[in-house]
C-alpha cells in the first residue's frame, strides 16, 4: 500500500489537480438536490450538441431510497461523486482514469482492477450510455460511460463520463470497513459529519415526509418547468426539473408511488428532460456553438452552410 493514506478531502484535491490538467474545467457542486453528478447541468445539458466540453466537480448526490439510518457500512442517503466529463471522449480515457487511481495511491499491481460491463441508463432523463463499472477488489468504485443518448437525443460528439464513488474509493484507500470510519480531513471522521444527517434524512424520507405536500410540490415544479421552457429559459427550467425529480424520489422512498403511478411520474420527468435537452441545443445553435472552434468539426456538424439542422430534421420526426 501507499505510505500515506489520503484523507477524503485529499482525495478530492488530488482528483481536481489531476483532471484540471487533462482539459477539465473545475466546476463547483451544483446547488440543487440531484441524485447523481450526471444530473448537473454541467453534464446533462453540455453533453448534447457538437461543442467540446470538459468539467470536473464533486457532486453530493441524494438518493432517499438508499438511506439506511446511518447503520449500513456503505449505503447512504447522500454520497459524494467526483464527476469528470470530457467531450469528445479522448482516445486514452481509460489510461487517464488508471493514472488518476495511481495518483491516489491505488497501485494496480496491489489490487484487482476490472472493467465490468455496465451499460448505464437513466430512463427518466432519457439517457443511455455504454460502458463499465470499475471494480477495485470486487468493490464497484467508478461508473465509466460513453454517452450515446441524452434527453432522448442521440449525441453528436460523444462525452466520456467518469463518476468516482468517493466513499467507495476512500474505503479502499484508507482500508476501513465502514464509511463512517473514514477520515474526512484534519482528524475529523466522516461519521462525525454525516452520521446524524444520515439518520435524520432516513427518518424523514421513510417516515416523516409530508406526502401531500410533496405531491403538490411535484405538480407545481413541473408546471413551472414547462412554463419556463416555453419562454426558452433553459437553465431556470432545468432547475425546476431537478426539483420535481428529487420530489419524486422522496415520494418513491416513502412508498407513496405505486408501480403504475411510477411509470406515469417517470414519463412526466422524461417529457421535461427531452424538452430541456432540445431547447438547450436550440439556444446554443442560436449562439453559433461558440465553443466549437475546430474548422473540420464545424463543417462535420454544421455542414458547409454552417447551419445545425439535426433537431429540426431528426429529433422530432
Amino acid at each position: 500500500m501507499a505510505n500515506k493514506k489520503l484523507a477524503f478531502q485529499d482525495i478530492i484535491l488530488t482528483l481536481q489537480g489531476f483532471w484540471s490538467k487533462q482539459g477539465a474545467n473545475l466546476m463547483q457542486a451544483y446547488d440543487n438536490e440531484v441524485g447523481a453528478g450526471t444530473m448537473s447541468p454541467y453534464t446533462f445539458l453540455r453533453s448534447n450538441g457538437p461543442e467540446p466540453w470538459g468539467a470536473a466537480y464533486v457532486q453530493p448526490s441524494r438518493r432517499p431510497a438508499d438511506g439506511r439510518y446511518g447503520e449500513n457500512p456503505n449505503r447512504l442517503f447522500q454520497h459524494h461523486q467526483f464527476q469528470v466529463v470530457l467531450k469528445p471522449s479522448p482516445k486514452n480515457i481509460q489510461e487517464l482514469y488508471l493514472q488518476s487511481l495511481a495518483e491516489l495511491g491505488i497501485d494496480a499491481l496491489e489490487h484487482d482492477i476490472r472493467f465490468v460491463e455496465d451499460n448505464w441508463e437513466n430512463p427518466s432523463m432519457g439517457c443511455a450510455g455504454i460502458g463499465w463499472e470499475v471494480w477495485i477488489d470486487g468493490q464497484e468504485c467508478t461508473q465509466f460511460t460513453y454517452f450515446q443518448q441524452v434527453g432522448g437525443i442521440e449525441v453528436d460528439s460523444v462525452t466520456s463520463e467518469i463518476t468516482y464513488g468517493l466513499e467507495r474509493i476512500a474505503t479502499v484507500i484508507q482500508e476501513v470497513d465502514s464509511v463512517y470510519d473514514l477520515e474526512w480531513g484534519n482528524g475529523v471522521a466522516y461519521g462525525d459529519i454525516f452520521k446524524e444527517p444520515e439518520y435524520e434524512h432516513s427518518k424523514f424520507a421513510f417516515e416523516e415526509s409530508n406526502q401531500e405536500l410533496l405531491l403538490k410540490l411535484f405538480g407545481e415544479y413541473e408546471q413551472e418547468a414547462l412554463d419556463l421552457l416555453d419562454k426558452g429559459l433553459v437553465h431556470p427550467a432545468y432547475d425546476y426539473i431537478l426539483k420535481s425529480s428529487h420530489t419524486f424520489n422522496l415520494l418513491d422512498a416513502r412508498g407513496a408511488v405505486s408501480v403504475t403511478e411510477r411509470a406515469g411520474y417517470m414519463h412526466r420527468v422524461r417529457t421535461m428532460a427531452r424538452k430541456v435537452a432540445k431547447t438547450f441545443i436550440e439556444e446554443r445553435a442560436k449562439l453559433g456553438f461558440p465553443l466549437l472552434k475546430d474548422e473540420a468539426l464545424r463543417e462535420k456538424y454544421l455542414g458547409k452552410k454552417g447551419k445545425y439542422t439535426k433537431i429540426v430534421e431528426g429529433e422530432e420526426k
Binding site: M1, R68, E71, N72, P73, N74, R75, P88, S89, P90, K91, Q94, L98, A108, L109, E110, H111, D112, I113, R114, F115, V116, E117, N119, I130, W132, I136, D137, G138, Q139, Y146, Q148, S157, V158, S160, T171, V172, E175, D177, S258, V259, T260, A263, L297, K300
Partner: protein
C-alpha cells in the same frame, strides 16, 4: 504457404459478447477469403476481454487465377439488318474489355472469355479492415470521440501480420501494425510481434493467456485445487465460468471468507450475493452445507493478493449485511398487509393490478384442481396459495434480489405459519423458468403454476398484446411451453378449448393456435415426422396430454407392417364422412351385410372403454380391430348404395369410426406414401 495474424485490440468487451464475437470474426474471415478465392487450411481463434484475434494457417500466396465465360446478348440481336455488330454486342464487348470479334458463339448466345489474374495474399488482406472488421455486427453498438463509426467497444490497436510482414490498412484512426499490448497491469507495454507465428507464445510471456479454452481450463484447475486443499465441494457453474473467463486475461484464483453468523440468512440469498452480484464460486463443506467461504478469480498474478482478498471480503460483508437487514425486517411484515398493497401494483398497465391477476388465477386454479382430482385439503391449499402467492414482491429482499422471487415467498410463508403445500406452491408457481427448467413437484404448485400461466395468456391476448415474430416481451411462448409441460407431466386430461371458453375473452381461437404451435415445437424437438405431429395436434378435442401421447405412440409404430393399411382405411373413412352433407343416426336394422354388423360391433365395444384407454392401447385397437373391420367393410359393401337410406346408414356407421379415431389424431393427415 504462410500464416496470417489479425488481432483487434479493444477496450473491455462485455463478457457475454467475447465468445460470439470471436466466432463471428472467424466466420467473416473465412467467407472473405473464400470470396476472394484465397486458399487456407484453417483458422485458429484467440480471445480475451481486450482482444479478438485469429491466425489463418496455410494461406496461399495468391488467389487462384480463373478463366470464365461471361454470357452476353443472344445471337438474334447480335447483328443489325446490314450484318453489322449491333449496339448491344458492341456495348457488351466494351464492358468485358474485348472486341465483338473476340466473342464466341455457343448455342444461341455470345460469350466473352474472361481471365481473372490471381491476386497476392497481401493485397487481398489489406482489405480486411473494411471488408471483415467493419462489417461485424453486435447486439449493442457504441460510437466514441467525434466518430460516427459503430462497434462493440472502441478499437485501440490492430495487428495485421503475414508471417513477418505487416499488411497495413487503416480503420478509423487506427493503422494496423505489429504492436500488440500486454496485460493492462502486469505488462503494460507494447509487445512487438516479429512474426505472426510468435503470437501464441509471445502473449503469455506478457501475461495474456490468449487461448480462451486454455485460460478456462487454467481457471477450473486453480479453483478445484483450492477446493480440494480446503476440503470443500465446489460446482464450476458453466455460465459463471464462461463469464469469469471473459473478464480476465491472466487468472489467479483465491479464497475468501465471511463471518459464519451470516449463515443464518437463507443459503439462496448468500449464493445470489456471491454468484450473481460478485461472480464468486460458492463452496460447500463435505456434508454439503454452505461454507462461510468463497473462491474468486483475480485478473492478475498472486503478488499482493492479500489486498484483493481483504477488499473482496469487505464488499461481500456489506452485501450480506444488507441481506441480513432485509431478512430480519421482512419477517416483521404481515402477509395480509403485503397482499393488500398488491392492489396498487400493476400487472400490466392495460390489464390491471396484481390483485386482479391473482383473483383470476384463483378461479382458474379451482377449476384445474377439480380436473386434477385434488383432495379437499389440497383444494383448500390451492385457494390459499392463490390468495397470497405474489406477496413477496413487496418484501425488501425481493426488491433487492429480484431473482429470489418465489424462493423468499416460500420461506416467509413457512415462517408465517402457512403449511408446506401452500408455501411450496408460492415458489413453484414460477416454474419452469427456462425451456428445460424444472417443473413443480407438488400438485398444489402444479395447479397454481398452470393457472397463473393460463391467466397470463388469456389476459395478454385479451388486450391484444399478442406475440409476433421475435417479439414476445411478456415471454408468453415460454409460459405456454411451461404450461404444456406441466399438463403433460401431471397427466391431466381436459379439453383446453372448452376450458378457456369458461372465461371471457376475444381471442380464444388465436390462443388455441398459439398453444398448438408450441405443442408442435415441443414435439418436433423429439420427433421428425411433421405429418404425424400435425395429425396428433389436430385431434378432435384439445386434450394436450393426449396430443403429446398420440404423437409418440403413432410415431413408435410408423415402421410396423400393419401401420400403412390401417391408416389408409381410417383415412378413407374420414374422407367419405367429410363429403357427406348430413349424418343420420345409425339404424342396425338397415344393415345388409355381415361386414356392417361386424364393424358396428367393434365400434360399440370400443366406445364403451375408449375414454379411459391409454393411447398405446387405443392405437393397437385401431390397427388390429377397427382397421381390419373397416377393410372388410369396404371390401364387401358399396358405401354409395343406390338406396339412400342404406347409404346414409353406412355413412353414419363410418362417422362413428371417425369419431373414435379422431380423439387420437386426424389420421387423414398422415402420409403413407
Amino acid at each position: 504457404m504462410t500464416n496470417y495474424l489479425l488481432e483487434i485490440g479493444l477496450e473491455e468487451i462485455p463478457a457475454h459478447l467475447v465468445t460470439p464475437s470471436i466466432n463471428q470474426l472467424a466466420e467473416r474471415m473465412e467467407t472473405f477469403l473464400k470470396e476472394n478465392r484465397l486458399e487456407f487450411d484453417k483458422i485458429i481463434k484467440f480471445s480475451t476481454p481486450r482482444r479478438l484475434a485469429i491466425i489463418v494457417e496455410g494461406l496461399a500466396e495468391a488467389s487462384e487465377a480463373i478463366d470464365e465465360e461471361v454470357k452476353g446478348p443472344s445471337a438474334k440481336i447480335a447483328k443489325d439488318a446490314q450484318g453489322n455488330w449491333s449496339k448491344a454486342i458492341q456495348g457488351f464487348s466494351r464492358g468485358q474489355g474485348a472486341t465483338p470479334d473476340d466473342l464466341i458463339l455457343k448455342g444461341d448466345y455470345y460469350y466473352a472469355k474472361k481471365h481473372i489474374d490471381g491476386v497476392k495474399a497481401e493485397e487481398i488482406l489489406s482489405k480486411v479492415g473494411d471488408e471483415v472488421i467493419a462489417k461485424m455486427t453486435f447486439s449493442t453498438y457504441m460510437k466514441w470521440g467525434n466518430n460516427d463509426f459503430l462497434f462493440v467497444r472502441p478499437i485501440q490497436w490492430i495487428v495485421s501480420l503475414l508471417e513477418d510482414k505487416v499488411v497495413a490498412f487503416d480503420l478509423l484512426d487506427v493503422t494496423a501494425n505489429r504492436f500488440s499490448r500486454g496485460h493492462r497491469f502486469l505488462a503494460n507495454v507494447e509487445v512487438e510481434l516479429k512474426n505472426a507465428n510468435d503470437y501464441a507464445s509471445k502473449m503469455p510471456e506478457n501475461f495474456v493467456l490468449v487461448d480462451a479454452e486454455h485460460r478456462k481450463a487454467e481457471i477450473s484447475a486453480q479453483i478445484l485445487a483450492l477446493a480440494s486443499e480446503n476440503k470443500w465441494q465446489v460446482t464450476l457453474h458453466k455460465d459463471l465460468l464462461e463469464e469469469v473467463n471473459n473478464i480476465v486475461e491472466y487468472p489467479t484464483a483465491f479464497v475468501g471468507s465471511f463471518d459464519p453468523k451470516y449463515l443464518s440468512v437463507p443459503a439462496e440469498v448468500l449464493v445470489t450475493s456471491m454468484r450473481d452480484n460478485q461472480r464468486y464460486f460458492e463452496v460447500y463443506n463435505q456434508e454439503g452445507q454452505l461454507a462461510p467461504n468463497f473462491i474468486s478469480v483475480r485478473n492478475g498474478n498472486a503478488e499482493n493478493i492479500e489486498n484483493v482478498v481483504l477488499g473482496n471480503e469487505k464488499v461481500l460483508v456489506a452485501r450480506l449485511e444488507d441481506a441480513e437487514f432485509f431478512w430480519k425486517e421482512d419477517q416483521k411484515l404481515k402477509i395480509e398487509d403485503l397482499v393488500a398493497k398488491l392492489a396498487k401494483v400493476t400487472f400490466h398497465a392495460k390489464i390491471g393490478s396484481i390483485t386482479e391477476h391473482m383473483a383470476r388465477t384463483k378461479e382458474i386454479a379451482a377449476k384445474l384442481a377439480d380436473i386434477a382430482g385434488l383432495t379437499d385439503e389440497e383444494k383448500r391449499d390451492v385457494a390459499r396459495s392463490a390468495e397470497i402467492y405474489k406477496f413477496d414482491l413487496l418484501t425488501g429482499m425481493v426488491g433487492e434480489f429480484d431473482e429470489l422471487q418465489g424462493v423468499m415467498g416460500e420461506k416467509y410463508a413457512l415462517l408465517a405459519g402457512e403449511n408446506a403445500n401452500v408455501s411450496a406452491a408460492i415458489r413453484e408457481h414460477y416454474m419452469p423458468t427456462s425451456a428445460e427448467g424444472e417443473l413443480p413437484e407438488t400438485k398444489v404448485g402444479s395447479v397454481l403454476a398452470a393457472a397463473d400461466k393460463i391467466d397470463s395468456v388469456l389476459s395478454f391476448f385479451n388486450v391484444g398484446l399478442i406475440p409476433s415474430g421475435s417479439n414476445d416481451p411478456y415471454a408468453l411462448r415460454r409460459a405456454v411451453q411451461g404450461l404444456i409441460r406441466i399438463i403433460e407431466k401431471m397427466n391431466w386430461h381436459f379439453d383446453l378449448s372448452l376450458f378457456i371458453d369458461q372465461f371471457e375473452g376475444e381471442n380464444h381461437l388465436e390462443i388455441l393456435d398459439f398453444v398448438k404451435a408450441r405443442i408442435q415445437k415441443l414435439l418436433l424437438e423429439k420427433l421428425d415426422r411433421h405429418d404425424i405431429v400435425e395429425a396428433a395436434i389436430n385431434s378432435s378435442n384439445f386434450d394436450i396430454t393426449n396430443m403429446m401421447e398420440s404423437a409418440f405412440v403413432i410415431d413408435g409404430h410408423k415402421l410396423h407392417e400393419p401401420f400403412k393399411p390401417a391408416i389408409e382405411n381410417v383415412s378413407r373413412s374420414i374422407n367419405l364422412v367429410k363429403k357427406a352433407k348430413d349424418i343420420k343416426e345409425i339404424n342396425p336394422t338397415l344393415f345388409e351385410e355381415d361386414a356392417e354388423e361386424a364393424l358396428y360391433n367393434v365400434v360399440i365395444s370400443l366406445q364403451n372403454q375408449w375414454t379411459y384407454m391409454p393411447g398405446e392401447e387405443k392405437f393397437r385397437a385401431i390397427v388390429h380391430s377397427l382397421a381390419p373391420a373397416i377393410e372388410t367393410f369396404f371390401e364387401s359393401v358399396m358405401v354409395m348404395a343406390e338406396d339412400l337410406s342404406v347409404r346414409d346408414n353406412r355413412i353414419a356407421l363410418l362417422s362413428e369410426v371417425v369419431a373414435l379415431t379422431s380423439v387420437m389424431a386426424d389420421f387423414s393427415l398422415i402420409n403413407t406414401k
